[in-house]
Symmetry: C2
Subunit: 249 residues, 2 copies
Amino acid sequence: METPLHEQIAADLRRLISSGELPVGTPVPSESQLCAKWDASRGPVRQALATLRTEGMIGGGRGKPPVVRRQVLSQPFETFLSFSSWVHGLGRNPGQRTLEIARRPATAEIADELLLDEGEPVVQLLRLRLIDDTPTMLERTTFVEPVGRLLFDHDCDSGSIYAFLGGQGVDMSLARHLVDAVAADEADSELLGVAPGAPLLREQRRATGVDGMPVEYSDDRYRPELVGFAIENSQQAQPTLARNWRSAS
Amino acid sequence: METPLHEQIAADLRRLISSGELPVGTPVPSESQLCAKWDASRGPVRQALATLRTEGMIGGGRGKPPVVRRQVLSQPFETFLSFSSWVHGLGRNPGQRTLEIARRPATAEIADELLLDEGEPVVQLLRLRLIDDTPTMLERTTFVEPVGRLLFDHDCDSGSIYAFLGGQGVDMSLARHLVDAVAADEADSELLGVAPGAPLLREQRRATGVDGMPVEYSDDRYRPELVGFAIENSQQAQPTLARNWRSAS
């Protein structure tokens, strides 16, 4: 299925902005220029510009020519689980350093999240996630044992764990996310390169199968000057959800 | 239109949990008890329990009797704009202290958010929001002048500003929310009663009318030990969005 023209135009503009070819503050190419570049009518060009305006990437309106506002990039919520595929979609390089993978007894808190008994074995993963070599997020993930054990035979730094587990038939159809803020602890500080106590954006996530049984619980901490979450809603439509990335450059 | 029975049962359980009548760690009434109390069949009772499980308020499952997990309360995204109506829905008392309402020229940043020229007049509101007298959120809101001027004739501490503005015909149909974390500045620290530099959960919000023209831009900072945001998504359905409140007691 071919990507609709307005989405192609929007993706190209995002790429130009995120790469810095269109720096913040500069004018966006005019409708006429975009029509000529894409051999397109005004309709798809206007739709692409409206999309980027909604995403907060370009400003203008009320008759003013649009300008680049920020290098904020967003993704549809379908890829909310996978950091790797989100970063790939930005045209950036996702990186990951698995610092630890361990089988250990579930604490009371973890057992409660995963509907296990305290002391039942779980598999825990500590991973540092990077965008273009910049430490961006620290992930503390716990899997139920039958799922987590699959990771002992897998190179966790080779790509998306979720793509790997999905390929193994693991069902993670539903996810609940709790978003809040926490002060960086010692590990956060050392690995993310921030001061102890610095504010971090935290996402706690629990993924379950269609049967409602928990598969994974994760505590992910982001450097808030690099990543935010964007939500849109309206009185008419369902909200859409995106993770935003603020370029460090 | 009558509220469906399963929603009545769920609302009653939420009230019992949030009020502390069912403390964290205690068993939830059994299906049979709930059926008897509500003169209901198993269907609506199970649906109510499933809703509370999804919201993270009760645990259990895999054959274990459900127990109260936390006093986390959530609301549908329709009321995302209004702190007052959200808190009312929890059965708690919303409070507000308007600290300042001022007409002043828009800074470059605000002008950009509201699609104005720098220096055009805007109306800014600084409000402390409380739940049961506990300072919970500090709100820095800027309205375009034709909307903000309506507030000079209004008692901003008398209830929901959004309800008042809606009644005046102001259209705020669409909203974009950016969620991140920030360190408490001097004003945050003093008014919210947290240490300077403490992590706060921030929601930046821009509301527009159906014509896409911005009406309001706000920077809201929450004490993260009191409020979080919850998001649910699935591979099948649209995500739903809620604001969570963690009881301080």
